[in-house]
């Protein structure tokens, strides 16, 4: 288990922060600009690949994975 603890813990941290980062980028890219507002055909709230529900599920999985792997990674003497 110790052998896999570090990569799994790092994966858990990635699952915790990358999906919210994607939500931020999607939110920024869908920000209505002056040009977009003028163009009535454009969609200012385009959904990206990361939905709110998917992000929350990935973060929850990351949470479970973190508490499973981190105790083996962050040893007492660290």
């Amino acid at each position: 288990m110790n052998k896999f603890a570090k990569p799994l813990a790092l994966l858990a941290l990635a699952l915790t922060i990358v999906p919210p980062g994607m939500i931020l980028l999607q939110g920024l890219s869908s920000k209505p600009t002056v040009a977009a507002e003028a163009d009535t055909d454009s969609v200012s709230d385009t959904p990206g690949p990361m939905s709110d529900g998917l992000m929350k599920n990935l973060m929850f999985a990351g949470t479970l994975l973190w508490f499973a792997a981190a105790p083996y990674w962050l040893k007492e003497d660290d």
Binding site: L13, T16, P20, I23, G27, L28, M55, F67, A70, E76
Partner: protein, 454 residues
């Protein structure tokens, strides 16, 4: 600590000293807690704007780190004694008992605030069955909320009695993940608001006359919210394990992750609710609900764990303080149960969590002044021809030259806080600390014998 020795009544030996990494971890874990979910939104509720938060918090936290580095750490690495033992040497055993009483009670109230914060997360799955407290609530909001607080309080107390080491370990493990959850909350609500322009987002609400916490208030709060630990020298007990004073810089890990980024991210949660969900800044939104809305179950778990991992050591420390008062009457277990019971009752009253900005200021104002006595004893005793470690040297149980300055300075501060308009609690720790130190020199000259030949 090495060999599980605590060195409570002797200098820490060289073999037990710790590296910088240990202190960065300890401070980062301790200052990324459940209360951060309360403090960020409270700044918004009090009308702080983006400049106040970004620049004010930076400056305040920098001043806090400098205080730790050049005051607390400096004394800690030269003396290598716990606060309690150092106080006993200067003030006498009986005065330490009085200090323990205030310390224990205030720790219980702080743990109570964390019980409240955790309860706002535990209550979320129960929906409307649990009436959550708002910023304006001081008293229990209903039977369901009380039951949740009591259950959480009992669990926290049982764990504090039986497994402090487990919880300390849990806090150590949870810290990196908790910080990322705070960050995630901020990123998600920024994404939902389609902007990262904090200056556009965080503004003093229109119609609010002025702000309850101006720029210098934010600076003062960030500087003094842990004043009991740096100015008050409580962290002598921790930093005495440092190899050299410059390891005091490690406190920056806790300040700039927990008290800067985490506070701003938590503040953004309420900003989002105010802008997009028409929430009222005056009443706020419980942290559990905001975290769940932003990042789901991970957020709820974070609120519970953040409150839990900080409340447990706090209950444990309060128990130790009570036991220190009556070492023959109370075992550590019964003292911890007493502390847990007080914390649980306090947790049922949202006042401690919802008035956290005030409470933390009062906490520092009462406890920090004794640190001025230690600072005078260390830095100025020779210059003013005062005897160091006076109580130990002359074998007295209570040093009046400490009791009087402490009582007078805290009394003046509490008078100003209660009766003078515009004086917020978080401005008071430093003036109280300076007054106490000055009066200690005056009363030592008046009441105590001068230094004696070694």
């Amino acid at each position: 600590m090495a060999d599980n020795e605590e060195f409570e009544r002797k200098r820490v030996p060289d073999r037990a000293l710790l590296g910088t990494k240990s202190f960065v971890g300890m401070y980062a874990g301790e200052h990324c807690a459940g209360t951060e979910f309360m403090l960020g939104p409270l700044f918004v509720a009090w009308g702080a704007n983006a400049f106040d938060l970004i620049v004010g918090l930076f400056l305040g936290n920098l001043l806090a780190v400098l205080t730790w580095r050049f005051l607390t750490a400096e004394i800690a690495v030269h003396q290598r004694l716990t606060l309690y033992y150092k106080l006993e040497k200067i003030c006498g055993r009986q005065l330490v008992t009085l200090y323990n009483f205030f310390n224990g009670v205030l720790f219980c109230f702080l743990a109570g605030a964390m019980v409240t914060v955790s309860a706002t997360a535990v209550g979320v799955p129960f929906g409307n069955a649990v009436q959550m407290p708002t910023f304006q609530d001081k008293y229990p909001t209903g039977a369901a909320f009380i039951i949740i607080c009591i259950v959480l309080g009992i669990l926290m107390t049982v764990v504090a009695v039986r497994g402090y080491a487990f919880l300390a370990r849990m806090g150590h493990i949870a810290a990196p993940w908790m910080f990322l959850i705070f960050l995630a909350c901020g990123l998600v609500v920024l994404g939902r608001m389609n902007t990262v322009d904090l200056f556009e987002l965080i503004k003093t609400p229109a119609g609010q006359e002025g702000t309850k916490i101006p720029f210098w208030g934010v600076v003062a709060f960030a500087w003094f919210c842990n004043s009991a630990m740096h100015l008050g020298m409580s962290d002598l007990s921790m930093l005495r394990f440092a190899r050299e004073g410059k390891q005091g810089w490690a406190t920056a890990g806790g300040m700039f992750l927990g008290h800067y980024l985490a506070w701003i991210c938590a503040a953004l949660l309420l900003v989002y609710w105010v802008r997009e969900r028409a929430a009222d800044t005056a009443t706020g939104v419980p942290p559990g609900i905001m975290a769940y809305d932003a990042v789901g179950w991970a957020g709820l778990i974070c609120v519970v764990i953040a409150g839990w991992t900080t409340a447990n050591p706090t209950i444990y420390r309060a128990g130790l303080a009570f036991q220190g008062m009556f070492p023959k009457l109370l075992s550590r277990t019964s003292a911890t149960i007493l502390a847990g019971s007080v914390s649980t009752v306090a947790g049922c009253f949202p006042a401690f969590a919802m008035k956290l900005l005030d409470f933390v200021g009062i906490y520092g104002t009462i406890l920090a002044p004794v640190g001025a006595v230690i600072a005078v004893d260390y830095f100025l005793a020779k210059r003013f021809n005062l005897a160091t470690d006076y109580a130990e040297r002359f074998g007295i149980p209570i040093n009046g030259a400490v009791l009087l300055p402490w009582g007078i300075s805290v009394g003046v501060a509490m008078y100003l806080y209660n009766y003078v308009a515009g004086v917020q609690a978080f401005y008071l720790p430093l003036p109280t600390w300076i007054l106490c130190g000055f009066l200690y020199i005056v009363f030592s000259k008046m009441l105590n014998r001068p230094t004696v030949p070694a």
